[in-house]
Symmetry: C2
Subunit: 181 residues, 2 copies
């Protein structure tokens, strides 16, 4: 059996830079990835890169993956209203060893119930977090990256630290110096 | 007439993270981009993102663009041996106001003659630079980012500073705080 992959969720308007260092560290560490959209067809990132996901969340065999990486997204409210994403997260949670979401994507994790009782951060302001009605206020942290059990959350400007945290949580070996200016 | 775009060259094994902050800054500043491959068809980045270029360098109207961004690439020697890339760079140089290459991509600029008499840096070690036979040794700099006239070159780990330099050279307004951990 092949080594389990990290699934990287690609929704419209995903943030390329927030994802890029985590992707590079997965590559450095030899961790296979499977990018996954919904429905099929190309997905355009917020900065204009048009990507073809390797697969769709509907077609992904859960045995193929052991971890999830969620980029931020300009239109996260739209993505969060699409129940296919949250249903997928609920279904797959127990099989995953690492679930990592940066910037606005912790909203998806919260909506799917994956942040219950967990410390987290998110690149959403207090008003947005409260209005969403899905975040536990008392467990919010201002830290750049927060790890609680299998859940890693990060603020967007912590995208390098987020990548490092994902790599370390997966036990990968990689050179952090690639990303240090 | 629409505002001229920045052309972003996408070759096989391009480095997603090295490009990502520059792309994000172009987006923040409202600068249109055109990603360009050769031949058509998807292009896979070094960390596994499969991208569809907006166009090909053969089909790009030179009037559509005023600047070039070149990501690094694991296989730059192969790309540099493909004369379509260097021919394109030679042809288009005089029309461009900014030509920016990070990591290994200054090799393409040097091979096309664009670094003649210019200060530059590159993410290639001394042996690789010498063996290529296209770099002027006396104009090499160890700096993370080097600007000389319209040419911007950078080392890979300076990808955030590279993005900032591209944005500033194009006179864009953007918030650097997005990328500061």
């Amino acid at each position: 059996m092949n080594e389990a992959a990290a699934a990287v969720l690609l929704y419209p308007q995903f943030s390329e830079y927030e994802l890029s260092v985590a992707l590079s560290i997965l590559m450095q560490g030899g961790k296979p990835i499977l990018t996954a959209g919904v429905e099929g067809g190309p997905v355009k990132g917020e900065a204009g890169l048009i990507c073809i996901p390797d697969t769709n969340i509907e077609d992904l065999y859960h045995e193929e993956i052991d971890s999830l990486v969620l980029p931020g997204c300009m239109d996260i409210m739209i993505i969060a209203d699409d129940e296919r994403w949250t249903a997928f997260l609920k279904e797959i949670e127990s099989r995953m060893t690492v679930i990592a979401g940066i910037s606005s994507s912790p909203l998806l994790l919260a909506k799917a119930g994956l942040l219950k009782g967990k410390k987290y951060t998110a690149g959403l302001n207090e008003q947005a977090r409260e209005e969403s009605g899905v975040f536990e206020k008392e467990n919010y942290s201002e830290d750049l990256v927060v790890e609680d059990g299998k859940i890693i959350t990060a603020r967007g400007r912590g995208f390098i630290e987020f990548g490092n945290a994902v790599g370390e949580a997966l036990g990968l070996s990689f050179d952090e110096g690639w990303y240090k200016g």
